[in-house]
């Protein structure tokens, strides 16, 4: 049985209530941290654990915490980023909906480590029902003395608030999130200064993903060294993967990092293979913004090694033949999936969600979407394909925040790996007129079939 750290008690009935959660060892990390450890010792444990941010970038969480300006006289804040809006990612929703106290517990422990007296959970507006679940859980935690003044009789006090957003993907970017939390328009800030120095209300702030904060619980309970033993190499611990697409068992899975991708897709314990007995065509491994990979590259790296579910292995080969673990939105496509249509959908999303602050992203995302719309509907030209590559290249890296990159990478990678399919759309407009064209007659690329063989 693979190790489960986050979802261990997920199936326990009424785990969302305080009593049940407490009975199953809940809030032990708060007791341990507040009563026996100094804040710095908690940070040290997180550093030792090698925990990497689960929101997408994979930045070491302990290192991020150590950057927090502790000398500042201003109050310090911990903000939980629950603005999960990446297409293909729904792990935080599952975690918060089923086991809200795990996040609350992690927030208290992490706030103690960072010396935050006020902490916020910034949650996306579409998760309104989860706001209610979290608020009920927070109420229970206040009643039990785990929040508020003098938690468990120690001098430490903490107030925790849930703040819903208003439905913008960009507010998942940490500085845009802080702007939105301050009540302003959710535009990303220019960095530096980083939030660790001047974040919320210009005070030192740490912004962490829901899963990262939830992972702190088991790190404090079991110790950082113990946590680091789970996983593989620098990718320590477990990760929630949101599996979706053409698979037999879509859902949220907790995996130990280091699991082979092939096993994840085809074993009955996880995705259970491709549905309807079809063949695997492509995988978007970490949420819509990471590069898409064809079947032969997702199962094996360009060097022929087995690809594993780790930060390093998925990124092997750079963007030429690799991808990223990202936020763990694992989208699987079978042979009837149309890459162009899928890419157009992604582009439409980024066009819709661009904040419009800096020009490359504001103009470029719309441009790419319109060109892809034309190609998908059979009105494209051959030179449009190169145009898309060029536009993507000019957005990438030139924007204020990573949304520009997130919009450019899928386009660049889809054309890199599936160029024939784009050319097919341009050459045979009558064949792609039907939106379900590939279900009627799947596109076959000799080159990719040879590679997959």
């Amino acid at each position: 049985m693979p190790k489960k750290l986050l979802l261990e008690h997920i199936d326990v009935p009424s785990i969302e209530t305080f009593e049940t959660y407490r009975r199953h060892g809940g809030y032990a990390s708060v007791e341990k941290a507040l009563k026996t450890m100094t804040p710095d010792a908690v940070t040290e444990e997180v550093k030792k654990s090698g925990l990497r941010g689960r929101g997408g970038a994979g930045f070491p969480a302990g290192l991020k915490w150590s950057f927090l300006d502790r000398k500042s006289e201003k109050p310090r804040y911990l903000v939980c980023n629950a603005d999960e809006s990446e297409p293909g990612t729904f792990k935080d929703r599952y975690l918060m909906e089923k086991i809200p106290h795990l996040l609350i517990e992690g927030m208290i422990t992490a706030s103690y480590a960072l010396g935050a007296k006020t902490s916020y959970i910034y949650i996306r507006g579409e998760y309104m029902y989860i706001v209610r679940i979290l608020e009920r859980a927070i109420e229970e935690a206040y009643a039990a003395g785990f929040l508020g003044q003098h938690i468990l009789g120690t001098p430490y006090s903490l107030d925790l608030y849930v703040h819903p957003g208003a439905g913008a993907y960009i507010c998942g970017e940490e500085t845009a999130l802080l702007e939105s939390l301050e009540g302003k328009r959710g535009n990303p800030r220019l960095k530096p200064p980083f939030p660790a120095v001047a974040g919320l209300y210009a005070a030192p702030t740490v912004v962490n993903n829901v899963e990262t904060i939830a992972a702190v619980v088991s790190i404090v309970n079991g110790g950082g060294d113990e946590y680091a033993k789970v996983g593989l190499g620098k990718s320590t611990g477990t990760k929630l993967i949101s599996a979706s697409g053409h698979i037999n068992k879509p859902g949220v899975y907790e995996i130990e990092l280091g699991l082979p991708v092939e096993e994840f897709i085809f074993s009955d314990e996880y995705c259970g293979g491709i549905w309807k007995g079809r063949k695997l065509k492509a995988v978007v491994a970490g949420g819509s913004s990471v590069p898409i990979l064809p079947a032969h590259l997702i199962l094996k790296t360009a060097k022929g090694e087995q690809r594993l579910m780790t930060y390093e292995s998925l990124a092997d080969g750079g963007f030429i033949s690799g991808t990223m673990l990202g936020s763990g939105g694992f989208i699987v496509m079978d042979e009837t999936a149309c890459i162009v249509r899928n890419l157009w959908t992604f582009s439409r999303f980024y066009h819709h969600e661009s904040c419009g602050q800096c020009s490359p992203c504001r103009e470029g995302t719309g441009w790419m979407e319109k060109v892809l719309h034309r190609i998908e509907h059979g009105h494209g030209h051959m030179h449009d394909i190169d145009l898309l590559v060029d536009v993507a290249k000019k957005i990438e890296g030139n924007t204020i925040c990573p949304l520009g990159d997130a919009a450019a990478w899928p386009v660049a990678s889809a054309i890199r790996h599936f160029r024939e399919e784009f050319e097919y759309h341009v050459k045979y407009p009558e064949k792609v007129a039907n939106p379900k064209h590939f279900e009627l007659e799947p596109f076959r690329s000799e080159r990719l079939e040879l590679s997959n063989a």
Binding site: L190, S359, P360, R362, E363, T365, G366, K370, N398
Partner: protein, 335 residues
Amino acid sequence: MVKVTIDGIEIEVAEGTTILNAARQIGGDVVPPAMCYYTSLKDSGGKCRVCLVKVTHTSTKDPRPMPKLVASCRTNVMDGMVIQNITSPEVLEARKGVVEFLLINHPLDCPICDQAGECDLQNLAYEHGVAKTRYEEERRTFEKIDIGDKIKLHMTRCILCYRCTFVADQLTDNRVHGILGRGDTSEISTYIQKAVDNDFSGNMIDVCPVGALTDNTFRFKSRVWFTKPLDAHRNCDKCCGKVVLFTKGDEVLRVSARKDKYAEVTEYICNECRYDHKRLSDWVIEGPRHIDRNSVISQNHYEKIDLLKLKQEIERQIDFEKGKQLPEPNQSLTA
């Protein structure tokens, strides 16, 4: 003082200077263009991305290059920093891309735009743009609206530099306009039409780099290069009173604040000076305005204005107002 190298030219600048301002101290070709940055407006800049430069050497302490191109208007220099602007093909390529992005949704209606001739986007496109567009799609358009009594907003032309919002935040006591919507459909607007009603709101027109915000009293009066700009001042209890009069014959077509060679205003003027004093006799004329910018507006030979004749003309107007007989008929002001 810190030492930085920009395109191989070394210069010592004060600590806390941005790369852009360090380059401006060198001057000439190494100065990156700027569409959204405005020296006198705090927090402006970083949005348009045309000032991107490459930092090949972060500082003496940290010799690593910066991973991405950085916005020179918002990046402070560090001791020993080495920066590439026009010597880096990567920067020029990225800049060309940004100019193209700025232009794809721009209506390119320069022939009927009041800003033409003194437009930052026009100059930028002339220097960095490509002559042919690759954009085949429909351009976004908006209705023209009056956001204030005398300010026309032509949102279709806007490049969303946010400068006018900074003016409203920092010069006036209440901002009533802002950005609505998001992405390429975001727009500058007011909740209620004609809501911008502040004594310094006219400065929004001056800071606008394109023809999105124009002076309703000057619209379609004249091409700007047919006017003769004169430095003038008056005693004003609200502002510095130092302005440029854009004149044609003995008519004052437009009053604006004085812009430096980067098209930036340092001394803002009030709406009374801008709109209510449109007679030469209201002003003390200092002389022709030297416009130190690489723009169509500087191509005119307006600096040859005969000052003596000009003074006579002003006296004639003053006498006329006092009810005296005109000493001589109206005549051209140029030599």
